[in-house]
Structures are given as structure tokens and as C-alpha cells.
Assembly symmetry: C2
Homo-oligomer: 414 residues x 2
């Protein structure tokens, strides 16, 4: 058995004990992990310094190096995240539905852990602690495969978490790193039966690789080409406020707006208000012909612009002749993440909500609210942009499967 | 664009109208489809005769030919199935959860159709009508890929259903067959983005192919290596009754029992009752050493027997030294479909239910109850043996995704 399959097998074995653990045991382990992170801050920061030095010497852009960097404040934030998880309800054991069948059988559908969850990520090292915590709380053994650029940091964090789990009476193997090269990742993606679910977190390239090469079921997270549609019946000042927030409040995240569509009836009035405000905020607008005609500050948009998740202070913009044309545009270019309409019309809102197929459809508010924290979930492992299993922000319940429990007194089928 | 991708694209287009259709329109279409099947019974039976003749001439076993055969009674049963669907609640629009956030945003998680569902099947032609009906009721355009041996039958049924859908005001393309050879199926499996979900229905080979070759998300259905565990505290007469029913009531289906495990403390007494009863019912028992020692009618089991879904009047049998040993055995050989315990002990039932990871865990009843009809779902597209999205019998709600609808009055993120 290869190293990776052996890691998977140990995860499976550990998952049995974890699935049987009470909430009290899991919460104690989360608190022990938080304390251990704080107690080992120096060791973690030292390990991280190796990754940071290698990245800097390798010419990595400073913004990326900064995301990689850990300091005592960031280590403490990881610890706080684990403590917060300890305060959340346990999804395991929740009865999703239950009733008694005509023959007297008692049927209950109950939440159970998946078993073994693999996380493949290229984000900051704090994902290591966050993902481990969410998996532990939801009763899942986790296999963590971070980026090689954070290998020292991740290994140090995993070591600390494993010791803390063990000291709390759980198997250390409820948290494991996945060592090895790209071939190891390939093995992980093909370990159907040993790994129950894979969740990739990172750029579009990583997610595409995991989706196309995995036989293990994947929950796709990620790309958000989010639109704000300004309807003919919109309050235009409200529309400007919402668009500015959606575009500029944090441009680098998936729920930031990347495109604005405006109904032709109000295009002139809206653009007269919006374009100067966008310019003041440092936003470059890539517009279609009708938007370009409204201002000499607008860059002509290419077809590619409308399909682009900029993640920067850029915005594509188009004038549409109807709500239906806006829906068509979103169906063509959108990524089914978050789509917003600004309107005073109940009929327009209703039609937009029905016709636009996305994880979240927003009426008269910023796209930036599509977030586990904002939705009140308390924790988030990512935002699913697929339709199977979980769609939108994934909290603890989304990290579980279910089991039917059927209790009788000798019933047989006739 | 290839023929298959064009079919997918037309399905996507049709799915928009279907997703917007009211329950009344969908139910009218289902009733029109039922009537059209009855009105076209002769044409369907004639098309079916071509498939039956080809199968018989090709030397297909008579039991398989019989499953392929349609007569007016079987056509009527398909129509009744569609009418039954019209009587079920519409899963689309159901609010799964909803509350108001601290900032006043109203959050609702609402069931929506997947969009386009592909069904790849090798079963009887009645699956064509059943799957089309379930998909239509749940608002999904369906792409039907049946086996080539039923090609004439399936084409005739699809034609009838399409005309009826159109006459009810829905696009004909809400129901489509997928033409072409194996390369076409491969294209269907790779049509991620155009097809939302694939559900294979058929033998283990088909399911394995779809799972390993698809980039479209798959819901795996199928294999059931189901166990009955007779605990030390079991009522042995009840155990015999449950085992006989689970094994013999319909041996060819996935929720039939394939293996019995008995606690060593009661093995002698249980086997003395069970083995003659099984023999009377025509069951061949493949036992481990300790079971073989109990009767000269028991065939020695190989390692392979314990992992086999017989789907016949064969049963593997083993004596285990504890409940934990039974759990270990099921973890090793089971397929996570349905596992049953017979016991009077509350502690044993509780531990078995917790420790056995399966779609359904049954206490003191037959494994045969794992079924959408028995569970009161009214319709079933299959029994999922995977953990993602749906697990166990899949009814109409399992054929939907969800969408978050967020309604505000100008909220932005700070």
C-alpha cells in the first residue's frame, strides 16, 4: 500500500472513533487544539519563516508572501476560530426527518459524518487549522493537502493539532497531512471508497484539476462572476450604493461583483451617477458600446471581459433592453455564484429570483453577503458553486451525510 | 457542436421553461403523458416486439427477455406511475430554512430543480417513463440513455412523452433520448456544465463506468451486500422470520439480505432453527467453519463469498464473537446499503446503529424495507449508496438543489 493510501486507511480507522465521539469530547479537543496553537506559537512562526524566506527568495510577489506569513496575532486568530467552533451546535445526530410508517416502523433520517474528508488547498496556512476544526466538529477525519509553498507552516500546525487531539482522547489520525509530490495528490483524488469527499480550495486551475481527475466525489467551490442588475424600476441611488459596495468593499473575493447590467430605460441616469462614483473609488469600467458612449473614461469591453472574474478594481458593464435580456446575459456569462437585482418592482424581483439559477440571488442588497458568517452559520468551509449536496456557503450541516434508522418489532415485507 | 452536446444544450434551454412551470402545468403534463401512453399502447408494444425479437434471436436468456417485454398491462402500469406522480407535492419552491439576519436581510433557502439530469440505464423500458416523470415533476429536463437492446421501445415511449409534454404547453425537449454509440455516452458523461447530474441505473459494471469516466457529478445507486446480524440477545424466532424475509421475499433486488452474522453465544440455537428453514426455502448457505460444523448442508464459504451480492437464493453466513466483530465484518465486506440487527438489547441496538455506516440501519425488521415506496416517498428514482447529496431511497426532494434567496432594502457590507 502506498504512503497516500496508508494515510487514507489510517484516516478511515480514526474516523470510526471520531464518529462515535460525543460533542463534549469534540469540543474539548477543539479547545485543546486552540491552547496548543497558542502554546506553540514560536515553533509555528519559526517554521513559517522558512516558507516565507523561500517564497521571498523565489521572487514570489509580496502580496502572496504576505498571505503566507504567520505572526502571533494570526496564530491567535486560528485559535479563536477553533474556540468558536466549540461553541456551535453539533450537526451529528440531528434528526432531519422522522415519522412512523403505516406498519409501525419508526423511520428517522439522522445526520452522520461523511467519514474521511480530503481538503486540497493553496490558500494561507490558517486554512489548515480552520479546515481541521470544521472537519473535527462535524465528526470527519481530515486529510490536509496544502501547497508546497506552505509545507513547513502546515506541517508545524498539523503536528500541534494531532498532539492536542491525542491528548483529548481522540486518535491523532483524525488530522493528517498528505505528504508527497503531485503523484500523491493524484492518488488521493482516485482513492474512492477510502476518501468520502474532496473539497478543493484555491484558484480556478486547482479546482478544475480536482474536478476532472477525481473519482472521489468533489464539492466544487470557487469562481464568482457576480452581477448586479439595475432594473428599470430601481432606486438609482440605492443601486449605486449597492454596486459600489459589491465591487469595492473587498474586490479580491468570490462574492464581489464583477459586472453591472443596467436596463436601457434608466441607463443614462444611472451611469451618470455610477460612473463618477466608480471612478472615485478607483474602479476601471469595461463597458459595451452603450456604456462607452456615456463616458470617455470607460474602456471598451471585449467578449472575454463579460466572462472574467477580475478579483480586482475592474468591472464589466452592459446596457440591456429588458429584465429577460439581463437574465440571458447572466445565464451566458455568470458562474452561478451570486446574482443581485436592484428594483422597487415586486414582479421584477420575483421573476429575477425565479429565472436566475445561482447559489444565491439577492434583491436590493450587496452580493458580498453570500458568506457563511453573514448567513449566521458560525463556520464556513467554502462556498459551493455546484448543485449537488451543498450549494452556497457550507457550514457544519453541509459537512455531513445522513443515515436512515429504521426501528421495528419484527416487521417483514409481504 | 456534436449531436450529444446539441441534445444537452436543448435540454438546458427547455429546463428554463420547466423550472418556471407551476405545479398545475407539470401535473397536467404528467396526466397528458399517462393518457398518451395508453392511447399509443399498440405502437409501443409493436416497437417493443422488434427489441424482443432481436433479443430472442440473439440468444438472450428468457428471464432477461421477459424484463424487456411490454404488454398493455405493463404500459398501463407506466401510465399509472405518471398519474401517481401528479398527486405528489411539488418539491420545487419548498423553503428548507429561512430566518431574518441581524441586519434585516431576509434569508430563505429554497428548493430548485437541478436543471438537466442524465439517466443512464440498462433496466426495463418502463424506467424510461418513470424517470421522465420524476424528472418532470421535480422540474428537471431529462436526457435518457437506455440500453441498445431496448432502443425501439425507448424511442417509442420518448416520442409519446415528448408530444404529450408539448401539447401541455411545455417544450418537447424536457424529455429527450440520447442517440449514438458508446462515444456518445462518453460525451454525455463529460458534459459538465451542460448536464447537472448523472444517475446510472443498472449493474455494477455500468455504475463503475459512469463513476470513473464522468466529470458530470454522479449519484451512485446500486450494489447492496446487506447483512442481518443476530445478536446474543436476539429473539431467535424473530431473527429467523426476519432473515427468511430479507433473503427470500425477492432475492434479485439490492435490499435483499446476502449475509447473516450470528453471535457465538446463540449460534448453535439459531442455526438449528434457521438452517432447516432456509433449506426449505431453497436457500444455499455458504458458511464459515463454525457454520459448516452445524450442518452438512452448508457449503464452505470462500473469502469472496462474503463480498458477493448474490441476488439469488444464496446466503453467506458467519459466526462472530461479539457485536464489535459483526461491525468489523460489515465494515470490511458491506456495501453501505442496508444493515440489520436483531436484538432485544437497547445497548446493542444503539451501538450497532451508531457504528454501522450505511444508507439504512434496521433494528428488528427486514432489510427489504429500504425502498422509496415503503418509506412513504411516493416515487423513487433509485437508492443512493453514496454519501454526497442523497443517501438511501431518492424521492422527489432528492432530485432538487437549493438556492439562497436574500431580500433586503439596500443593505451593504461594512
Amino acid at each position: 500500500m502506498s504512503g497516500v493510501l496508508e494515510v487514507c486507511r489510517r484516516g478511515r480507522e480514526a474516523s470510526y472513533a471520531l464518529a462515535a465521539a460525543s460533542r463534549a469530547v469534540k469540543d474539548a479537543a477543539l479547545r485543546a487544539m486552540a491552547k496548543a496553537l497558542r502554546d506553540n506559537t514560536d515553533a509555528i512562526v519559526q517554521a513559517n519563516a522558512l516558507d516565507v524566506a523561500a517564497a521571498s527568495e523565489g521572487g514570489t510577489p509580496e502580496s502572496t508572501v504576505d498571505r503566507l506569513r504567520l505572526d502571533p496575532t494570526r496564530v491567535d486568530a486560528m485559535a479563536v476560530g477553533l474556540e468558536d467552533l466549540a461553541g456551535l451546535a453539533d450537526p451529528v445526530g440531528e434528526v432531519v426527518r422522522g415519522y412512523t410508517l403505516p406498519n409501525g416502523l419508526e423511520l428517522r433520517q439522522v445526520r452522520v459524518p461523511f467519514g474521511v474528508v480530503g481538503i486540497i488547498y493553496e490558500a494561507r496556512p490558517n486554512v489548515t487549522a480552520d479546515a481541521a476544526g470544521i472537519c473535527l466538529k462535524s465528526g470527519n477525519a481530515v486529510l490536509l493537502r496544502g501547497s508546497s509553498s506552505a509545507a513547513h507552516s502546515n506541517a508545524a500546525i498539523v503536528d500541534v493539532l494531532r498532539s492536542a487531539a491525542e491528548s483529548s482522547g481522540l486518535p491523532a489520525d483524525v488530522v493528517q497531512g498528505v505528504p508527497g509530490d503531485r503523484a500523491a495528490v493524484k492518488e488521493l483524488m482516485q482513492a474512492r471508497g477510502l476518501v468520502d469527499v474532496l473539497i478543493p480550495r484555491g484558484g480556478a486551475g486547482l479546482i478544475q484539476t480536482v474536478v476532472s481527475e477525481s473519482t472521489v466525489p468533489v464539492i466544487e467551490t470557487g469562481v464568482g462572476n457576480c452581477h448586479v442588475y439595475v432594473d428599470a424600476d430601481a432606486d438609482l441611488d440605492l443601486a449605486v450604493k449597492i454596486l459600489l459596495n459589491a465591487k469595492t468593499q473587498r474586490p479580491s473575493v468570490c462574492n464581489a461583483a464583477e459586472s453591472v447590467l443596467v436596463h436601457a430605460d434608466v441607463a443614462e441616469a444611472f451611469l451618470a451617477k455610477a460612473l463618477p462614483a466608480l471612478a472615485d473609488a478607483g474602479v476601471t469600467v469595461h463597458g459595451d458600446q452603450r456604456v462607452v458612449a456615456a463616458s470617455n473614461q470607460v474602456v471598451p469591453a471585449t467578449e472575454q471581459d463579460f466572462g472574467t472574474e477580475y478579483l480586482s478594481l475592474d468591472l464589466s458593464a452592459a446596457v440591456v433592453d429588458s429584465l429577460e435580456a439581463a437574465v440571458e446575459h447572466i445565464r451566458r456569462y455568470g458562474s452561478s455564484h451570486t446574482e443581485a437585482i436592484v428594483t422597487r418592482s415586486q414582479a421584477a424581483a420575483r421573476r429575477f429570483v425565479q429565472a436566475v439559477d445561482a447559489a444565491a440571488v439577492v434583491v436590493n442588497a450587496s452580493t458580498r453577503f453570500t458568506d457563511g458568517g453573514e448567513f449566521g452559520f458560525g463556520a464556513e468551509i467554502g462556498i459551493s458553486t455546484q448543485k449537488l449536496h451543498a450549494r452556497g456557503p457550507m457550514g457544519l450541516p453541509e459537512m455531513t451525510s445522513t443515515k436512515y434508522v429504521v426501528t421495528g418489532e419484527g416487521q417483514v415485507r409481504t
